[in-house]
Every structure is written in structure tokens, then in C-alpha cells.
């Protein structure tokens, strides 16, 4: 994001297309750094003729966002370190008695504060109301304080699988595709929780202010890369769900292992029993506030 803004200020956009998460796309769109997209005219319709915006549905979280995949932030744990009672609830994260050992959590507030409030007894549908208040934010941090000494904070998603493989942590949050690849492709003794997974979208934005010729090339690529079949195809490599509704039935087997991928998708009904869908507007609006508090809290 920093580089994009710097490019915008310097008037030298060297990127044609940027891969961002949903919440970032809202910020970029709000700042005018991303181009607004007319999804129906610029993107391919579904094979049955459903327009692109209907096919993508809720995943179009801002006017600039071209969704690509659905992923979730969830928790993985070391099978050999949790004894006979593997965790089934997200609140195991905060249960140092039942699951002693280190945890790895994201160095950003997203997901951490929601889980903290949920496990502090806030009903799921009130979490964002509570989090919008200063007291609610303090409450979330107070809950996180109870495990702060046992937390290793990650800033790159690859760290948690590495820490799990080392046995350095007993459990840690990361993206579901990372856990899938550690479990299925690398055969690590790791299990994963789907409870209270934070569903999020990843996709493209086009930087504002691209010259015509580059823009045409980019739109051409996007039209191809986000059509129904292409989105379904990428699921053969990692367990991230396609953002289009029409792609879901086309999800096939893993490219190398040959196992069906559908059960590993965060959107699979069996996995999606207790899901947080990231509240983008909330995060776009409150990110600065909560982030500042969170970072100050971390540094204590």
C-alpha cells in the first residue's frame, strides 16, 4: 500500500495490477488510489449468463475490488502436543491450562480482537458493536493480555506453519491454505480448526491513473483470469475458494495429490458452521484506531 501511494504521489505507476485483501481494497478505493471498476461490463459473465456482479455477489466489497479467492484466517495446532483432546473451539487459544505452550498470532489486530471478545463472552453478533467503542477495544486487549507472554507474533503468514513444523508453538493462526499445504503436501503432524474462522476475500485492484494502453492490457487479462473456469482452476493448487458462485461446482482435484479439494475449502458447508465474515467497512473505518492501540499495547 505504501508503495502504491508513493507511486500515486510521484505520478509514476509502475504496477498494472495489485493483489490485495478486501479491507485494503476499501482503503485504497477511499483514498482514490484504486480505479473504480464496473464489474458487469469489464468482467466476464458466468457461463449461464448471470452477470459478473451477481455471480461475485457479496465478495465485491468495494467499487474498486475484483475478487478472486475466498480464504480464511484460522488456527492450526500440533497434533502431538495437544494430547488426547485436540481443541475444537477457538477459545482454546486462550486456554493456557488445557493447552500449555506458545501460540503464534498475527501482529495485526484483525481476527485477534474478534476472537478475544468472542472468548470473553461477547455474543457473536454484538462483537463489532463492542469493538467500535474504546472500552470494547480495551476489553479485547485485556483478554489478549492473559496470553501475551505465550504469544509469538508473526508478520508473514509463512511463519506459523514453520513454527508448527518446528514444534515451537502448540497452536497458531494463519491462512487456511498454508495449513492445508503443511498438512496435505508436507505431511506435517498438524491439525486445523475451522471454528470461528475469519472469512476474507483476496483479489485485484487496478491502480488509478494507468495510461490507456496498459489499462486495456490489464483489463484483458482480468477478464480472462477471473472468469468462472479460471477461478475454479486455481483451487487445484491451494485450498482457497473461488470468489464466484458459479465456480464452486467446478472445483476439482488437487493438481499433484489428486485429492478432491472441495472439502478443504473454507466455504464448504461442513467447515463453515461457525464463520466470521470480515466486516470490511468496520475494518476500513476503525483500522487506524485499533491498530494504534494494538501496536502500543504490543510494545509494552
Amino acid at each position: 500500500m505504501a508503495k502504491l501511494r508513493a507511486m500515486n504521489e510521484a505520478g509514476n505507476i509502475t504496477w498494472d495490477l495489485v493483489d490485495v485483501e478486501g479491507a485494503d481494497s476499501i482503503r485504497l478505493c477511499d483514498e482514490g488510489l484504486a480505479m473504480e471498476i464496473d464489474h458487469d461490463s469489464m468482467l466476464a459473465a458466468a457461463p449461464d449468463g448471470t452477470s459478473a456482479s451477481d455471480d461475485f455477489g457479496d465478495s465485491i466489497v468495494s467499487d474498486c475490488f475484483i475478487p478472486q479467492i475466498v480464504f480464511s484466517t484460522t488456527v492450526g495446532y500440533r497434533l502431538d502436543m495437544v494430547g488426547d483432546t485436540p481443541p475444537t473451539s477457538i477459545c482454546s487459544l486462550f486456554d493456557l491450562d488445557a493447552y500449555p505452550g506458545k501460540r503464534a498470532l498475527n501482529k495485526r489486530p484483525l481476527a485477534n480482537v474478534e476472537w478475544a471478545l468472542l472468548c470473553d463472552g461477547v455474543p457473536k453478533d454484538e462483537i463489532y458493536d463492542v469493538l467500535a467503542t474504546s472500552e470494547g477495544q480495551d476489553r479485547a486487549l485485556a483478554k489478549l493480555d492473559t496470553i501475551k507472554d505465550s504469544v509469538i507474533w508473526w508478520s508473514a503468514a509463512a511463519e506459523t506453519p514453520q513454527l508448527l513444523a518446528d514444534g515451537e508453538i502448540v497452536m497458531g493462526s494463519t491462512y487456511n491454505g498454508r495449513l492445508f499445504s503443511a498438512i496435505a503436501e508436507q505431511n506435517q503432524p498438524i491439525g486445523m480448526l475451522w471454528d470461528a474462522q475469519m472469512l476474507d476475500f483476496d483479489g485485484w485492484i487496478v491502480p488509478a491513473g494507468l495510461p490507456e494502453d496498459r489499462l486495456a492490457r490489464v483489463m484483458d487479462f482480468l477478464n480472462f483470469a477471473t472468469d468462472t473456469q479460471r477461478l475454479a482452476d486455481q483451487a487445484a493448487y491451494i485450498s482457497y475458494g473461488p470468489a464466484r458462485a458459479s465456480s464452486a461446482p467446478l472445483v476439482g482435484n488437487h493438481a499433484e495429490l489428486g485429492i478432491p479439494m472441495a472439502p478443504h475449502m473454507p466455504t464448504d458447508p461442513a467447515n463453515a458452521q461457525n464463520v466470521f465474515v470480515t466486516q470490511y467497512e468496520f475494518w476500513a473505518d476503525y483500522r487506524d484506531d485499533i491498530d494504534a492501540k494494538f501496536q502500543a499495547w504490543l510494545a509494552k
Binding site: 510521484a10 505520478g11 509502475t14 508478520s155 503468514a157 509463512a158 514453520q162 513444523a165 518446528d166 506435517q188
Partner: protein, 404 residues
């Protein structure tokens, strides 16, 4: 040197035997500790040490035979524990112990100290050597797991049980294959090999000139100039990186628009300039340091005999300050070759350098490929440094100088 070792044999019963036993007892303690019985290990180690010392002292074997014998015996003892790790530690302990005993027994520990040293001074000398050895170990130690892990069969930075048991299944060359055959790594390597040498040439040529200017006796505002030239080294990198980004982005635009150069070419130019400026302080520092000892009457003599300034520079001054220039150049090269923050900001995807790729490799997909890359680079630099040293010795020999 042979004379001292043969003349001097310290007393066996009061010196060699107890000390050997002590070291062996320590090893025994450690090994025993691993099995939960440290003191039994301690006693057994001590006894074993004394026996080996006795054998080395009294039996008529040469150095190689005694040492090999000890290593084999302890290796076999390690085999009894039934694991490959046991054999390795047995062999290691055997090597260390036999070297130590031989070193004590034949009086080699006095080899490098003057004859008049007292026992205390000799002890201090050897302790000092031990300390230095440990510091060198500290310097090198982190490189060992890097090399070892680069042969990992898994995609993690973790020693698997197979690796620790030295089973073939735990090892693989796939990370080397990945490094050498994929564009993902070869293009960054190529980029680094383009950017670093050019940046080095720029900073060395400009830096050497400026250092010569700076070392003259009357330079106005010398301190201020020096401070400015050194500044790329002292400004925290992250600030330099952002500052340069804001500067180079519009500059690049302007060049592309007005001079009609391609974006890729301009991208390289930006990174090269940025790296060149970072390398400048190292060249300035090393070259001015060499020039401090430079005798200016030499240039005057050359001028006296009719050489023009350019000839004087290349024929008289340059050969004398060459060592400084080369070492400055090495620093500048490594600065560029190992730089990741500035290139992340200033470069675009086409100028991805090796450290950049390593950085992404570390942050995005922790993969031992970067360890393979590092191992290859370490091996290359060992070869380079060794070649330089061998060449130096050869030229010394040729010039008939005694090896210093």
C-alpha cells in the same frame, strides 16, 4: 620447531595424566548426563581418559596411529548406543580427546610461546587461543546449520529426525535443483550480477578520485565534505530508501519521457545509482585510510622527472593505494550484493535482485531454497578468498620475498 617437541616432555604422572583424565571426565559427565547419570559418566570418563593417556604416552605409536586408534575405539563405543548420533559424538570426542592428550604429552602446548615463559604465562597464552577459537566458532557457527539444512528433503527450516539419524531419506538436492533451474532464482541472480559490479565501478572510481582530493593538505570545508560523503552509511536505511524512492520515481518518468529510454533500462539505472551511492562511504573510508600513509614526495618526484599528473596517478599512486581501493571495492560490492531495503523501494519487478528474492522467499514461503542459494554463495566466496590468498603467496614467492 621439531626440536622443542622432542626435547621437552612434561611429567606424565603429575601433568598429562590428570589433565587428560579431567577433560575425559568432563566428556563423561556430559554423556552421562544425557543418560541421567552424570557422576557415573564423570568417573568412567576420567578412568578412560587416564588409560588412553597412558597408552599414548607409553606405547610406541606415532601421532596418526594413536589418534586414529582413539577415534576408532570411541566411535565403536558410540556405536553401542545404537544410533548414528552416538557414533558421530564418539568420533568427535575421540578426535578432540586424542588431540588434547597428544598435545599435552608431547609438550606441543609450549610450541608457540617463548622458552622463558612461566607455566602461568603459557596457560594464559593457551587460554587466550581457546577464547579466540571460540569467537571464531561463534562467527562461523550460524553458517553450519545453513549448509546442513540446505540438503533438507522437506520444505521447512527444521532438522527432521531422518536428518539427525543421517538417513538418506532425510536428504535431498531438490533445493539446489530448484535454485539452479528455475527462472524465479536465476533471473534475480543475473540481475544482482549486473547491478552490483556496475554500482561498484561507479562508487570506486568516483570515490577514489574524491579520496585523493580529500587527502591533500589544503581542502576547504573538509569536515563538512567528509560528513556529506559518509552520510549514506549513517542515515538509517529505511529513511534512505523512502527518500530515494520519491526522488527516483519522477526522475525515472522524466528520463523515460524525454530521452525515450525503455522502462527496464531506466529501472536498472535507478537501482545502480542508488546502490552506488550506498557504496561510496566504504570506498572513501578505506582509500583515505591508505592515503594517510602515502608519501606525497613520490608524486612530486614523478612530476619532477616529467610525468604528467595522469601518468603519475596510474603509474605511481595507483599501485600503492591499490589494496585500499580493492578492499573498498569489495565492501561496495557486498553492500550492493546484499542490499534488500533500498531495492525493494527503488526497483520494480524487473530489477528483482537475489536478496530481494531471498526476502520474499523468507517472508512468503519459508523455503530452504534460500539456504541452498546461500550455501552456493558461501562456497563461491570461500573459493574466491582462497584463490586471492594463493595468488598473493605465489606473487610473494615469485618476488623472492619471504612469506610474511
Amino acid at each position: 620447531m621439531a626440536s622443542t617437541t622432542q626435547e621437552f616432555r612434561p611429567p606424565f604422572a603429575t601433568f598429562t595424566a590428570p589433565l587428560s583424565a579431567l577433560l575425559a571426565a568432563l566428556f563423561g559427565f556430559v554423556v552421562g548426563n544425557a543418560y541421567g547419570e552424570p557422576w557415573i559418566g564423570f568417573v568412567m570418563g576420567g578412568v578412560l581418559g587416564a588409560i588412553i593417556a597412558f597408552a599414548i604416552d607409553k606405547l610406541p605409536f606415532g601421532r596418526t596411529q594413536s589418534r586414529l586408534g582413539t577415534i576408532v575405539i570411541l566411535g565403536l563405543a558410540g556405536l553401542m548406543t545404537g544410533s548414528a548420533g552416538g557414533v558421530v559424538s564418539g568420533v568427535l570426542i575421540g578426535a578432540v580427546l586424542s588431540w588434547f592428550i597428544y598435545w599435552l604429552d608431547r609438550g606441543e602446548y609450549r610450541k608457540n610461546v617463548p622458552l622463558y615463559y612461566t607455566a602461568g604465562q603459557t596457560l594464559w597464552h593457551n587460554a587466550f587461543m581457546l577464547i579466540c577459537g571460540l569467537i571464531f566458532f561463534f562467527l562461523i557457527a550460524p553458517l553450519l546449520p545453513v549448509m546442513w539444512l540446505s540438503f533438507n528433503a522437506q520444505d521447512f527450516f527444521t532438522f527432521t529426525p531422518e536428518m539427525l539419524n543421517f538417513e538418506a531419506a532425510g536428504y535431498s538436492l531438490k533445493h539446489y535443483r530448484n535454485f539452479l533451474t528455475t527462472e524465479e532464482w536465476m533471473i534475480p541472480l543475473k540481475n544482482s550480477l549486473i547491478i552490483a559490479p556496475i554500482a561498484t565501478v561507479i562508487s570506486v572510481s568516483l570515490g577514489t578520485l574524491a579520496a585523493i582530493g580529500l587527502s591533500q593538505s589544503h581542502v576547504p570545508a573538509r569536515r563538512a565534505i567528509m560528513a556529506i560523503l559518509i552520510s549514506p552509511m549513517i542515515v538509517p536505511l529505511i529513511i534512505s530508501a523512502t527518500g530515494m524512492f520519491f526522488f527516483y520515481a519522477p526522475l525515472g518518468n522524466w528520463i523515460e519521457l524525454n530521452l525515450g529510454l525503455s522502462q527496464t533500462f531506466v529501472g536498472y539505472v535507478k537501482v545502480i545509482l542508488a546502490h552506488a551511492v550506498l557504496g561510496v562511504p566504504f570506498v572513501i573510508i578505506t582509500v583515505t585510510a591508505t592515503l594517510v600513509g602515502f608519501d606525497n614526495s613520490l608524486t612530486r618526484a614523478a612530476a619532477n622527472m616529467g610525468a604528467n599528473p595522469v601518468t603519475t596517478f596510474f603509474r605511481v599512486q595507483m599501485p600503492l593505494i591499490l589494496p585500499g581501493v580493492i578492499s573498498g571495492g569489495l565492501f561496495a560490492f557486498i553492500t550492493s550484493f546484499d542490499e534488500v531495503v533500498v531495492v525493494l523501494f527503488v526497483g520494480s519487478a524487473r530489477q528483482q535482485t537475489l536478496p530481494w528474492q531471498m526476502f520474499t522467499g523468507l517472508r512468503e514461503q519459508i523455503s530452504p531454497t534460500i539456504l541452498a542459494a546461500a550455501t552456493i554463495l558461501v562456497v563461491i566466496s570461500i573459493m574466491l578468498l582462497t584463490t586471492v590468498e594463493l595468488l598473493r603467496r605465489r606473487s610473494e614467492r615469485l618476488r623472492g620475498m619471504s612469506p610474511g
